[in-house]
Symmetry: C2
Subunit: 155 residues, 2 copies
Amino acid sequence: MAPDDSADTLIDGLVRSAFQVMGVLTRIGAEHDLSLTQLRVLGILRDRRPRMSDLAAFLGLDKSTLSGLIARAEQRGLLTRGTSPEDKRAVIVLITDAGRDLTQRLDEEIRYALAPATDRLDPQQREQLAQLLEPLLSPPLSATPRPHRPVRGTP
Amino acid sequence: MAPDDSADTLIDGLVRSAFQVMGVLTRIGAEHDLSLTQLRVLGILRDRRPRMSDLAAFLGLDKSTLSGLIARAEQRGLLTRGTSPEDKRAVIVLITDAGRDLTQRLDEEIRYALAPATDRLDPQQREQLAQLLEPLLSPPLSATPRPHRPVRGTP
DNA sequence: TATTGTTATACTCTATAACTATA
DNA sequence: TATAGTTATAGAGTATAACAATA
């Protein structure tokens, strides 16, 4: 056996794999003038319409960072901002048709770019690998926004 | 079966796993005032002494970007710059003792932070996952710098 | 001539602090 | 009072272009 245990070896692989995937994502994003974060935002918006603060929390960024990020993407016509009907302070972020088209194209390019790597496994190994990764993944941003504050009955 | 094939499912898992790992690395780096790139540079320097251009190529960054990055890390005492004996144009980058100590600490923190995820698999699954990832990984930056230009015999 | 690296410049990403509006 | 978001500001990361030194 190697001088480190199975957890250490696995973590090495996960970290290296992460850098490799991020390299691909960064390159493809840059080819479309998108940062990694903007790429990720578009992916999130594909099937969700979160509030600014949801996005910031999920991405681990400050609200102010998100303001600029969203403003630039909005200027490019990739998304829009709307106000929440339930909370007039809140801003919800929605992807536009143009944003959705671009996201679809990015998705295809990413899959195409990563295929040479995943093709080194046969279909059964790919399935096995996907299944082994699953327990490690934290749940994505919830699709249905939780009630911001539970409705109070009479106190 | 799902509506996409095994390669697409796997890519989803790899991308999500990559974002998750990067989140941990970014957070731990930030706690030590290190960007993801600087974290990565330190990891590379742990057992290599590459030239600026080697680092830039491996990281996928422009040389000019690396100049600033290395300058800031050098000011903090984490690494030093030296000149190559073979090529007086070249600058080689070396980690300092302080840099090595910090890198060791970062490494421990990263393993500690990722353990809750990897612990969701049993040792046999961890080993299997590491083995399945291996074929996907591109080779790291070579440890022994290749002769920059092959020595020419008489033409 | 080509390569290695640095510097000047500009823009994006990021956080902190101060602010407005709503809850 | 507390929360949601924006703006102003400042620093780091990044690329492009122009440059000096060496090959």
